[in-house]
């Protein structure tokens, strides 16, 4: 029998605010333990939380990007439980009136493009971090109170690949909105996934398992791949799936039961009396809406239509908001769009992935990039030299023409100047000359290479090839 999986995700997103959700403590990562704390995030009696407006705005913006309906009336609730990561013994969250309801995210996987339905997006506070030692545990409250946006999907995905595609698409949206750094190493995105299987042809969803606290996309993918097989095998062996909460063990490559449904929590939600409701007037929502960036998918299509870029280029460029902005700004100075795209996709993206830097952190300006591409296009500089100039622009900024002059990288187009190198190359490499004469056309490339080397990359390769051919044919 064939089985169909149903996968739902709860993605916890740390928002990119300077201060915490309900107090003014810093949200910075990597500080000494218990350094960014005040009586509010420690849950001292008598303290009062106040809402961070930026966090509300980010959540609503994300909801607008996913086409969710934004609640005109929304409130916070207390979720009670006992755990050392929660100093108040309750977490301020949203229960029945979240900021955003419904919506969807467009995904693309090998199975094609489709849209994944969202259930809701709400806002809550992050909890403390526990560290475990041999005989005790330690608690660091720095993270406690960081604004945490929870994106909850319907059980709408059918494969680990789709779950992964959803996470990538969501990450793209979050980065477009600027709502989160989406730095997985720093725990900016953490997932709980639920998964069930049912025989093909049936409608009712099977009994689900929940896998908690996955903090890498690969972890989500691998845990789901394992879990689906586990559940299908159990059913095929005539076993019954028990609703439970599980954890993913990377080293074992397996999920393990943490607790069964019988021990389910009763969180006793009730409205947070210390916070007033959030009432969003259409006017406010419209103002935020106007500030919304274009969705990556829409931008990709526009790049193809407006700049005549191939689908592949458009996808790569639009995938990162900063990269896409750089392209568009450079394209406003240089209409050779495909060349601008090429330089970004090869040299620039390689530099970013090698150094781990972002476009925003580079001193390179869009104008400088456009000018450099123009210098190459106008035959002023060879692409080899242009790579060197781009390296300098990315490291220290500046003007490409100035760098070209200062480093003596101006392309040599002058035949007389090049003839000397050509003669030398032909004289020093009789074997290649012989090969070329015998009809091995590729041999000319070696000779051109020798000239390029002698000219330290400054020679115009087309002119050199022409000269080499002329020189050999003349003798």
């Amino acid at each position: 029998m064939k089985y169909i999986a149903s996968i739902g995700l709860e993605v916890h997103v740390q928002l990119k605010t300077d201060s915490k959700m309900f107090c003014s403590c810093r949200t910075s990562f990597g500080d000494k333990p218990n350094a960014n704390i005040c009586p509010v995030c420690l849950g001292y009696p008598g303290t009062m939380p106040t809402m961070n407006e930026k966090a509300i705005c980010y959540t609503v913006m994300t909801g607008l990007m996913t086409g969710s309906s934004i609640s005109n009336y929304s409130k916070f609730d207390r979720k009670s439980y006992f755990y050392p990561d929660m100093p108040k013994n309750y977490q301020i969250s949203q229960y029945d009136m979240p900021l955003c309801v419904g919506g969807s995210v467009e995904i693309e996987s090998d199975a094609g493009a489709r849209s994944v339905a969202l259930c809701r997006i709400h806002l809550e506070e992050d909890v403390a971090k526990n560290l475990h030692f041999a005989n005790h545990s330690g608690v660091d409250f720095n993270r406690a109170g960081t604004p945490l946006m929870e994106v909850v999907t319907e059980p709408d995905m059918v494969s680990p690949d789709e779950a992964l595609a959803f996470l990538l698409a969501l990450k793209q949206i979050l980065q477009y909105v600027g709502a989160s750094d989406c730095n997985l190493e720093e725990g900016n995105l953490r997932c709980d996934v639920n998964c069930s299987v049912r025989p093909e042809g049936t409608e009712t969803l099977g009994t689900k398992s929940e896998i908690k606290n996955l903090n890498t996309f690969k972890g989500v993918h691998d845990a789901l791949a394992y879990e689906i097989v586990r559940q299908v095998e159990a059913l095929q062996n005539g076993e019954r799936i028990v609703q439970d909460t599980r954890r993913w063990d990377v080293d074992a490559g397996a999920t393990f039961q943490m607790r069964s449904k019988e021990a389910a929590h009763d969180y006793r939600y009730f409205p947070e009396p210390d916070l007033m409701p959030v009432v969003l007037l259409q006017e406010q929502i419209d103002t935020w809406k106007k500030g919304l960036p274009e969705l990556p998918g829409a931008r990709r299509k526009r790049f193809v239509a407006q700049y005549g870029l191939p689908e592949y280029d458009a996808r790569v460029l639009a995938g990162d908001r900063e990269v896409a902005d750089l392209f568009e700004q450079a394209a406003s100075f240089n209409t050779d769009y495909k060349s601008v795209s090429n330089w970004i996709m090869t040299e620039l993206l390689r530099h970013l992935s090698e150094t781990g830097k972002t476009v925003a952190s580079l001193p390179l300006t869009p104008k400088a990039l456009a000018d450099l591409v123009a210098l190459v296009g106008g035959g002023k500089v060879t692409s080899t030299s242009a790579k060197e100039i781009l390296g300098e622009l990315m490291a220290h900024g500046g003007d490409p023409a100035t760098i070209m002059q200062a480093r003596g990288l101006v392309q040599v187009n002058d035949s007389d100047e090049l003839s000397m190198f050509v003669n030398e190359a032909v004289a020093d490499n009789p074997k290649s000359v012989e090969d070329y004469r015998k009809g091995k056309k590729a041999a000319i490339q070696f000779l051109v290479g020798q000239v390029m080397k002698q000219s330290r990359g400054k020679a115009n390769p087309q002119i050199v090839a022409q000269l080499v051919r002329e020189r050999i044919d003349a003798h």
């Binding site: 605010t17 300077d18 201060s19 107090c23 003014s24 403590c25 810093r26 949200t27 000494k32 333990p33 218990n34 350094a35 960014n36 704390i37 005040c38 009586p39 995030c41 420690l42 106040t50 809402m51 961070n52 407006e53 930026k54 966090a55 509300i56 409130k75 009670s80 006992f82 050392p84 526990n130 560290l131 475990h132 030692f133 005989n135 005790h136 545990s137 330690g138 608690v139 660091d140 409250f141 954890r247 943490m258 009763d266 006793r268 409205p271 009396p273 916070l275 007033m276 409701p277 959030v278 009432v279």
Partner: protein, 99 residues
């Protein structure tokens, strides 16, 4: 909480468990009686006709009390840990957490 005739208004043993309170059988019985009385009294509110009245979480009609996103210094780590029963390397020490 239930208010169906013949059933308890409140299950004190369950609520005590949720609140991590250890009650003796005698205490449970005493509180059961007292809290039933209280919940029963509060249940009188349900007799009021609230047709057409919007539920509200607050008695005051104040809304959107926001704070600007500005970070400020909080307490020093020494102050934070002053009341900690046990601490080590800047961390609150708690019994080993087993998940």
């Amino acid at each position: 909480m239930m208010d169906v005739a013949g059933e308890k208004n409140i299950d004190v043993a369950y609520v005590a468990h949720l609140a991590r309170l250890r009650l003796s059988e005698e205490e449970t019985a005493v509180f059961q009686k007292q809290l039933e009385g209280i919940v029963g009294y509060v249940n009188k509110v349900r007799e009021i006709d609230t047709t057409g009245v919007e539920p509200t979480a607050h008695g005051r009609s104040v809304q959107n009390v926001f704070r600007e996103d500005m970070a400020r210094e909080g307490l020093t780590t020494e102050e934070v840990l002053r009341n900690a029963p046990a601490q080590r390397d800047g961390l609150f020490v708690v019994p080993k957490i087993v998940e």
